[in-house]
Symmetry: C2
Subunit: 541 residues, 2 copies
C-alpha cells in the first residue's frame, strides 16, 4: 500500500504541525519531545479541559482543542499513551486557580500516565479531577469497556460548561454523567493498515468485524460481509441492547473510522435511518472522521441519552470545525414543479412551412443508412440514425405544430429534440432551436435568431468553426441568412462548409481528435454533411 | 474490495436520503427519477444559486445546499451528468423574480444538459444565467480545462452575494471573476475504485498520478511514488506555474479526494506549508473531503486570488457544515512550563528511616533473580529487574531524601519511581506514593494515607483485590497499619495476601487472564511476593 508520509517516525509530529496552521492553536515549545496542543488565547480564567492519548485518531484529540471544547490535548505516538511528563506539562500549562478536568479514555496506559500526572499536579497544589470514558458496549455493559468516539460528547459538554464558567466540581459531575449516558459500537470492512508498513489483511473479502476498538485490535466478532443495511442493523441491534436509558431521546456521533468514502458514509446514514433507534435520534454529529483509527474502512455510532443540560451544551457553538451538529429527521419532500409540455402551443396552419418540415423530415429518414456509413468511418456509426429518429418524430407531430408562429415553432422543435433525439447532437440541436426561439421572441429576425442560437451551441458545446462538426456547415449558412441572402446562397455556403470538413484533419475537439489524418482525409463530418443536405433540400423547394 | 453498499443502482439515491436527514434540506417529490436537493426554507425572494453534476463527488454538490451557498443541487448518476429535465426541474423549483445562476463544471455532458435546461427555462420566461468553471490547470492555462474543487469557491461567493440581495447580473459577473481567479491541481496514490465493482489498479506501488480529473480518468502524468513532501512540491510547482495573479494573497481549498486518512491529510497540510506558495495563503478550507472522487486516495489543492469582495464573501458564515474556513499561518509555540525537579525538597536526616530504606533497597536488589524466575513462569520474567532498578536508584539517592518529613518523602519516592522505574508497576507504585503523599499532607496518618494511595492505584490501574496483583498483599497490610496494628501483624497480612495469590487462578485482569489454571496454580503473583518480602524485612528491623 502507498501512503502520504515522509519518515515513519515523523508522522505524528508532521500531522500536528499541519493542524497548527490554524492560528488559534499553539504547541508547547518542548515539542516534539512533549506534544501538547493548546488554545493560543487561553488565560487560565476558567476550568481547563484536557484530554489526549495515542495519535492515529485524528481529528481527536488535538483537533478538538478550541473555545467550547478542549483547552489542551496531549498527543502520544501512534496508538500509544503520552508520557507522564507530557501530560503533566499540559496540566501545568493550562491549569489556573479554577483547576482542570482530565478526560481519560479507558486504556491501561492512558489511565496510568494521566493518573500519575494528575497526582503529581495535585502534589504541586493544582486542583485536578479526572474522569475515565468507557463508552464501548461491544462486550455488553458489565465487562471492561474501552473509550471510543463517545469521548467527544464529554469533550463538548465539559468544554461548554467550562466556557460558561462552571466550577470544576460541577463539570466533573456532569462529565461523569455524560460518560454514564453514552454508548458506542463500531463495524469495519478492514483493519488498520499501519502507515509505511506492509500489511496482510486478517480478513477475507467475505468477512467484516463488529465491535471494534480504535487501535487495530480485532473486533469482538467476525461476521459475514453483507449489504450495508444488514451490517448497520447488526451493529445497531447490539447498541440497542445496551442503550443508556429506555425510550429516551439521543444525540448521535456518526463516525468515519478513517477511509470510508463520503458517498458510502451518506449511504450508511440512510441505512441507520431505517433502524428503530433512528426514531429516537434528535441530533447527529457527522457523518465524518471524528475519532478515526488511522485508515480503517469502518464506522462507529455513539449515542448520548439527552437531558436539558446536555442538549444545551451540545448545541452551543464551539470553535473546533470538526464538531458540527445537525438536527436528525426523516427526509422531507417538496412538490416538484410541473415540467412544460413538449408541445404547449396551439397548432396553427402554414402549408409552406408544413411542406418544408415534411420534406426535411423525409430526407433525414431517407439518408439514415448513407450517413451511418459515413459515420462508421470516422465515428461510432449512428449519426444517421440519430437524425432519422428526429425526422420520424417530426413526421408524427407536424400537424400539431404552431406552424404559423416562427418563434413558437423554433421553441417547440427545441423541445421535441430534447425529449426525442438522442446523443449530444440531439441536445445541441435542441439548444440551437430553443435559443433561436428565445432570440426570435425578442427580435423576429430568423437569420439573426439562428446565428444567436448557434452561438449558444458553441458556448455550451465548446466547439468552434473549424473543429470538424456540424457548425462548419451551420455557421456560414446562418450568417448568409442573417445577411438576407437567398436560400440558394445559404445552401451553397452550407455545402462548401460541409465539403471543407474533408480537409480538417487536425482538430483538438471531440472524437475527431483521437483519429489519424489518414482516417479523416476526404471524409466529411457526418453532421455537417446532413446540414448541407437539409439546406440543399430547402433551397430546392 | 468491500464497500458499504446495498444495490449498486441505489447508491446515489440512498446517499441522498442519508444527506436529507438534515431537516434544512428537502428533495423534490419527483425523486428519484429527478434528483434535486433544495433548501427547505427557500422563498424565491433572492437570486437562486444552482449547481450539480454527476454524483460521486460528495459532499459536492448537494452537501453545499444551504443558506449562504447553493439554493439547489441536481445529482446525476455516479460521474454522469443529470438529465435536462432534472436540471429544468431544479431551475423551476428554485427560481423566482430575481432569477437564477447555474454554476456548471466544464464537462461536455454538464455543459449541454445544463445549457439546454437554461435555454428552456428562458423560453418559459425565467431569468437564467450560466457560468462554467474550468479551474483545472493540469495541462496549463491555455488548454481545455475541467471543473474541479475550485467550483466550491464559486458556490460560496455567489451564494453569499445572493444572500446579501445582489442582482443576478452582479452575481454572474462576480462568479465569472471567481472562475478567472481560481486554479486547481490534484495528485493521487490510487485511481477510483467503483463501488461494487472489482477493480484492478492501473498503477503499481511505485506510481502515482499527477493532474487528476475527478471521474477516474487517468492523471495527466504518471510520476514515481515519493515521500509526501516531494509529491506535494511536485503538485504545487505545477500550480505555481499557472497561478492566477502574481504575488497575490490566496484562499486555498485543501481537498481529500475520498479515502486519505485524517492523519495523512494533516501531514499533507504540513508538506504544503513547506512550499513557497504557503506564504501567500491567508485562508484554508479543509483539510477535508469537499469535492471527492468516490474513494480516490489523493488530494487536490485549489487556490483563489483574493480581493476584498471575495474575502468578505468567503468568510461570511454559511449553513453547509462541510464549508469551514480557517486562517492559515505558521505553527505558533508557547513556553512550556518547567517540570518539577525529581527531588525538590531539602534533604533531612532520620537514621531510622534511612536504615529502613537502605534495607528495603538492598532486599530488592538481592532478590532480583529469584523474582525474575517466578515471573518467568507467569509473566514476562522481568518483575525482579524492575524492582531491583528501583532499589538501586534508592541506594544512590537515599542520603539526599527528606528523610525526616514523611509527606515529602512519600512524594519524592513517587517522583523517583515515575522517572526511574519502568513498566506499569513503576507507574503504579509512583501513583501509590504520590497519592499517599498528597493524602498525608492533608492528614498526617501514614496508614490512612497509604490506604488512600492504594485506592488511586485501583482507580487508575483498574485492578481490585483478588485480581492476582500486588494489591493482594498491599491492601491487607495497609489496612492493618491504618488500624494502628503492629508492623509484625501488617507483615503477616501481606504474607497471607501474597500466599493467597497462589490460589487465584481465574482472573479477568491483566496478563493472568490469558494464562491457564495449570500454569497459575501454586505460583504467587511476583509483585505480591515482593511486597510481602518488603514488609517482612521492615518488621524484622
Amino acid at each position: 500500500m502507498k501512503f502520504f508520509i515522509n519518515e515513519t517516525d515523523q508522522i505524528v509530529n508532521e500531522a500536528i504541525n499541519g493542524l497548527l496552521t490554524n492560528p488559534k492553536l499553539a504547541k508547547l515549545d518542548s515539542f516534539p519531545e512533549v506534544r501538547v496542543v493548546i488554545r493560543k488565547d487561553w488565560d487560565k480564567s476558567k476550568v481547563a479541559i484536557i484530554s489526549g492519548g495515542g495519535s492515529g485518531h485524528e481529528p481527536a484529540h488535538a483537533g478538538f482543542v478550541g473555545k467550547g471544547m478542549l483547552t489542551a490535548a496531549i498527543c502520544g505516538d501512534i496508538f500509544a499513551s503520552p508520557t507522564v511528563d507530557a501530560v503533566l506539562s499540559a496540566i501545568l500549562a493550562a491549569t489556573g486557580p479554577k483547576g482542570c478536568l482530565l478526560i481519560i479514555k479507558n486504556y491501561t496506559g492512558d489511565r496510568l500516565n494521566f493518573g500519575l500526572a494528575a497526582e503529581q499536579a495535585r502534589a504541586l497544589g493544582l486542583d485536578v479531577k479526572t474522569v475515565t470514558v468507557d463508552d464501548d458496549i461491544a462486550l455488553g455493559n458489565d465487562v471492561k469497556k474501552r473509550g471510543l468516539a463517545g469521548t467527544l460528547f464529554v469533550h463538548k459538554i465539559a468544554g461548554q460548561l467550562a466556557e460558561e464558567g462552571k466550577s470544576l466540581d460541577e463539570i466533573a459531575v456532569a462529565a461523569q454523567k455524560v460518560i454514564d449516558s453514552t454508548a458506542s459500537i463500531g463495524l469495519s470492512l478492514t483493519e488498520v493498515f499501519h502507515l509505511g508498513q506492509e500489511t496482510v489483511s486478517r480478513l477475507t473479502d467475505q468477512q467484516v468485524e463488529l465491535g471494534l476498538g480504535i487501535h487495530g485490535e480485532p473486533g469482538i466478532e467476525v461476521v459475514a460481509y453483507a449489504p450495508a443495511d444488514q451490517l448497520m442493523a447488526l451493529a445497531i441491534d447490539k447498541l440497542e441492547a445496551n442503550l443508556p436509558g429506555k425510550n429516551g431521546r439521543y444525540a448521535m456521533i456518526f463516525n468515519n473510522m478513517g477511509s470510508v468514502s463520503p458517498i458510502e458514509m451518506s449511504l450508511l446514514v440512510n441505512s441507520f435511518s431505517k433502524t428503530k433507534l433512528a426514531e429516537q435520534i434528535d441530533y447527529m454529529i457527522g457523518p465524518g472522521a471524528l475519532m478515526s483509527s488511522i485508515n480503517m474502512s469502518g464506522f462507529s455510532v455513539s449515542v448520548l441519552l439527552l437531558n436539558e443540560e446536555f442538549e444545551k451544551a451540545l448545541l452551543a457553538p464551539a470553535e473546533p470545525s470538526s464538531w458540527q451538529v445537525q438536527s436528525f429527521k426523516k427526509p422531507a419532500t417538496i412538490s416538484s414543479p410541473k415540467l412544460p409540455e413538449t408541445m404547449p402551443y396551439e397548432a396553427s396552419a402554414n402549408s409552406g412551412v408544413q411542406k418544408l418540415i415534411e420534406e426535411v423530415a423525409g430526407l433525414l429518414v431517407a439518408i439514415e443508412k448513407e450517413i451511418n456509413g459515413l459515420d462508421a468511418k470516422v465515428g461510432d456509426g449512428d449519426a444517421g440514425s440519430t437524425f432519422a429518429l428526429a425526422g420520424k418524430r417530426l413526421q408524427a407531430v407536424v400537424a400539431k405544430l404552431p406552424l404559423n408562429d416562427t418563434g413558437k415553432l423554433l421553441l417547440t422543435l427545441g423541445r421535441i429534440l430534447a425529449r426525442e433525439a438522442g446523443g449530444s447532437s440531439g441536445v445541441l440541436l435542441s439548444i440551437l432551436f430553443t435559443a433561436a426561439g428565445n432570440a426570435y421572441s425578442k427580435n423576429p429576425d430568423l437569420g439573426k435568431a439562428l446565428v444567436e442560437g448557434l452561438q449558444k451551441v458553441k458556448d455550451y458545446g465548446g466547439a468552434e468553426k473549424g473543429d470538424r462538426t456540424m457548425i462548419d456547415a451551420l455557421q456560414p449558412a446562418f450568417e448568409s441568412l442573417a445577411k438576407k441572402e437567398s436560400l440558394a446562397i445559404a445552401a451553397q455556403q452550407a455545402r462548401d462548409g460541409a465539403d471543407n470538413t474533408k480537409n480538417i484533419i487536425n482538430t483538438k475537439f471531440g472524437r475527431s481528435s483521437y483519429l489519424s489524418e489518414a482516417v479523416l482525409r476526404n471524409i466529411p463530418d457526418p453532421g455537417a454533411e446532413v446540414i448541407a443536405r437539409v439546406f440543399e433540400k430547402i433551397a430546392s423547394l
